[in-house]
């Protein structure tokens, strides 16, 4: 159906075609061309045998192409119906649209209230808005960009049911992902991209995940080694932590309790937007917690700010690299000062020793293999993986007692991700207590000793990973104790 000069592939009617590749492999650009956001340099696309060259998304939509974005396509302050209308070429009047939304959402088992403000929806519900927006236009080709990164395993099942149903109705689907198991279950064919080039194709159901991974990465790399240390004393204890939502669309923390011992890694999973950021802010000291809710080694640190907590050896790494963990326009030297000024002795009576700051930045760069022209380079000039190595390295080099990381390998290439995970394991092996908050279940299974899941600001029990299976994990992520999981009748 669609061809491209550099990268050529075809999608048949009623086919689910996977586009597989690492971050930066060129998946997004390719998709943007199909959706008319970027014009190709050369080559051509054909739709149903006719030449297809959209210059803007509305043309693509008119041609029957619909897209579910990974980020950036919903408007928090607008309601569901308005969001849907914005993605349509010729939307009907609002009242008709609301009715259509209800109809489609019932047909495909995606419950959604057209009047709700989108900012108040969960990540899974937000995705439904996007999907329904696409379905209302009866697309011939539906593009899905990393659709499952925001879903629980049960929600993934519901999504797959919906997609199979669409496929049966003759809709073609271009499915972009880097999750191999998913692609093996769902897709008919796969095209594998690396560094903007097509490297291979395969039939996922007949290939192993390992084969596909090697095609995607281009070489094999060391997977982190498991270690068999024994856990020590409880270092960090959180008891019934409550914290109101920070803004209109934030999540409140509702009675979170857990303990982490020396030498142990606690993995905290959950779908995005269930309190991950808020939990990190509470642990890093950005937001003070009610007295008695956060204890370090038996001492109450709930009211201490970030500087005081760092002084006691509690360090953290937020999810957002640019703008939260690091200042984009500042150099790596200056970004080293951001958290390490005191612990690395860079300050005398408030005056910064830039010599010491440079030395520290150079150490982080050397130990964590950060690829940068110089320590004077601005943080935003680094690739995601390299900056993440710098940010994680900056904390680990300060030898923390407790380290809390949120999404440490989000948007990072496979080799850098493996390196970061290994560093986390090494740190724990030296006796630190580590909390890893992540939406990547595979990652959590790999590094954690115990696992818990966040749901609407509540944390599940945190049993040992070895005792869990995928169903149980899914139920934990869905908040199974007191929450009903969305059902689908297909």
């Amino acid at each position: 159906m669609i061809a491209n000069d550099d990268v050529s592939f075809d999608i048949g009617r009623g086919e689910i075609h996977a586009l597989l590749g690492e971050n930066g492999a060129g998946k997004s650009t390719l998709v943007k061309m199909i959706y008319g956001l970027v014009a190709p340099d050369k080559g051509e696309m054909q739709l149903d045998g006719a030449r297809y060259a959209p210059t803007k998304p509305s043309e693509a939509r008119r041609a029957g192409i619909a897209m579910v974005f990974q980020h950036f396509s919903l408007f928090d302050a607008l309601n569901v119906a308005e969001n849907v209308a914005l993605g349509m070429e010729t939307p009907p009047p609002m009242s008709d649209l609301a009715r259509q939304i209800r109809e489609v959402s019932e047909t495909y088992g995606l419950p959604l209230d057209p009047g709700r403000t989108v900012g108040t929806l969960s990540a899974g519900e937000r995705q439904r808005v996007e999907i329904i927006r696409c379905l209302l236009q009866n697309p011939r080709l539906l593009i899905m960009d990393e659709p499952t990164s925001v879903l629980t395993p049960q929600e993934v099942e519901i999504l797959f049911e919906t997609l199979r149903k669409l496929k049966a109705e003759g809709t073609s689907i271009l499915y972009i992902s880097h999750k191999l198991e998913e692609i093996r279950t769902l897709c008919d064919n796969a095209t594998i991209l690396r560094l903007g080039k097509k490297v291979d194709t395969c039939i996922p159901s007949q290939s192993s995940a390992r084969q596909m991974a090697e095609m995607m990465v281009g070489s094999s790399f060391a997977t982190p080694e498991a270690r068999g240390g024994t856990a020590g004393e409880v270092l960090l204890a959180v008891r019934d932590l409550h914290l109101p939502a920070p803004g209109a669309f934030g999540t409140p923390l509702r009675g979170i309790s857990f303990e982490v011992r020396a030498g142990e890694v606690l993995g905290i999973g959950g779908v995005a937007g269930n309190g991950q950021d808020e939990l990190l802010s509470a642990l890093s000291g950005e937001r003070a917690a009610p007295a008695g809710s956060i204890m370090l080694d038996g001492k109450d640190i709930s009211r201490a700010g970030p500087v005081a907590r760092r002084g006691m050896g509690v360090l953290s790494g937020p999810e957002e690299r640019l703008g939260h963990a690091a200042a984009p326009d500042m150099s790596l030297i200056e970004n080293g000062v951001l958290t390490a000024a005191r612990s690395e002795g860079m300050l005398t009576r408030g005056f910064i020793s830039w010599t010491k700051a440079r030395t520290f930045a150079e150490e982080v760069i050397a130990h964590f293999d950060v690829r940068t022209p110089s320590p004077g380079t601005a943080a935003r000039a680094l690739s995601g993986g390299n900056l993440q190595k710098f940010v994680v390295g900056r904390e680990i080099l300060q030898s923390p007692q407790v380290l809390v990381l949120n999404q440490p390998t989000w948007g990072v290439d496979a080799a850098a991700a493996a390196f970061i995970r290994q560093s986390v394991l090494d740190l724990a092996a030296k006796g630190a207590a580590v909390v890893v908050i992540s939406q990547d279940l595979d990652e959590l299974m790999e590094v954690s000793d115990r696992f818990g899941a966040l749901n609407e600001g509540r944390l599940s029990q945190t049993p040992p990973v070895a005792s869990l299976n995928i169903e149980q994990i899914g139920l934990m992520m869905g908040g199974a104790h007191d929450m009903e999981v969305a059902h689908v009748d297909v």
């Binding site: 550099d6 903007g196 970030p306 703008g323 326009d329």
Partner: protein, 361 residues
């Protein structure tokens, strides 16, 4: 197709080149403007930028004026720039300047006619205090209830102006002034007079403090953790909170500091070049200082140079008015244009022009 591409990091070359190019563009367009107003553009530009310093006939009168005009601009702009660095927009420096002048003058006049050497220092402190208090109003409103500091600080300029009008004709009016509005003249009261330190140079205490402020701000921003925290707050507010910076503290410090410096500038002006509190004592330094701060790239050294340049346009503008009959208001427009061109040219500091198609990642 021409498009902009974000540079991986800001260009050092363009950081310096942008203000120079902006000045040249302003000269060019300003020349066109003067031509349209019926003046010889080359003569006008020469009168504004060259004559005040180098003209054999009157440079000896105008040269000292350079420091006199530049001092308040630099003093205020330094304070503003520190706040702007942190993303705190105090645009009511004019009001803080007026309140500094009123408070300082009132403190002095309360002690009239004492000739104690402590009078002037006490007035400086009172002036700084007046400006500080006026700036703390938006600061506290912002930190306590989250009110927008831009609008509050600006509204307070108008409030300060009505207070000025009221005290000039009431509370601080010269009792021996036969009912004319305006306070006693500080030039005739040695203990309170901010006189030239070296005769004929224009160098008064305000100039000294302006230089101190430049050096202090430079050290603060490049060497001290507080300056680092201020910059961090401006560049990445979330990262600043993560680092442990308390935003409210930065707001109080930045607004307080800029109010303090603006208040001092007002006091030095009222006791020196202006001489007395009068209804129209303020001359818009508080607003022009905003241009100076940006033109100087929010960098202390840059502000020093930009302040001198802006002072030059003031003096040169007056000369051009006198010699060529160019309307005085055209200088204000001229200064505004300078800021506009700078903001426009500035794009090249962070972006580069690319001609052609987008590459495929």
């Amino acid at each position: 197709m021409i498009r902009l591409e974000k540079r991986p990091q800001p260009s050092r070359l363009w950081t310096i080149l942008a203000p120079i190019l902006a000045v040249l563009l302003t000269m060019f367009v300003g020349g066109l403007l003067f031509a349209a107003l019926g003046a010889n553009p080359f003569e006008a530009i020469r009168t504004i930028f060259w004559d005040p310093i180098f003209n054999a006939q009157f440079a000896s009168f105008t040269r000292p004026q350079l420091l006199v005009k530049a001092a308040p601009l630099i003093l205020i702009a330094i304070g503003l720039s520190i706040g702007f660095r942190a993303g705190i927009w105090n645009i009511g420096a004019e009001g803080q300047y007026i309140m500094g002048a009123i408070c300082g003058a009132a403190a002095g006049l309360a002690l009239y006619p004492s000739e104690s050497v402590l009078i002037f220092p006490a007035m400086v402190i009172a002036g700084a205090f007046g400006g500080w208090v006026w700036a703390m109003i938006p600061a506290i409103l912002k930190t306590r209830v989250g009110t927008n500091e831009i609008l509050v600080s600006l509204m307070l300029v108008y409030v300060a102006e009505t207070i000025l009008g009221s005290v000039a004709t009431g509370l601080l009016r010269n009792p021996e002034g036969r009912g004319f509005p305006g306070s006693r003249n500080f030039k005739q009261w040695d203990a309170a007079h901010n006189a030239e330190i070296f005769a004929g140079t224009g160098m008064h205490w305000g100039v000294v403090f302006a230089f101190i402020a430049v050096i202090g701000a430079y050290v603060l921003l490049t060497r001290h953790i507080l300056g680092y925290n201020i910059r961090l707050t401006g560049e990445a507010p979330r990262a600043a909170r993560f680092s442990g910076v308390r935003p409210a503290r930065i707001v109080l410090i930045c607004l307080g500091l800029s109010g303090l410096l603006a208040g001092m500038a007002g006091l030095f002006e009222v006791t020196g070049p202006a001489g007395q509190i009068s209804i129209d004592f303020n001359s818009g330094y508080g607003f022009t200082a905003i241009i100076v701060a940006f033109l100087g790239r929010l960098n202390p050294i840059g502000i020093l140079l930009a302040g001198l340049l802006m002072a030059l346009t003031y003096i040169g503008g007056e000369l051009a008015q006198l010699m060529l009959g160019v309307p005085g208001a055209s200088i204000q427009l001229f200064q505004g244009m300078l800021l506009f061109f700078l903001l426009g040219v500035d794009v090249f500091t962070n972006y580069r022009l690319r001609i052609g198609r987008r590459e495929i990642a």
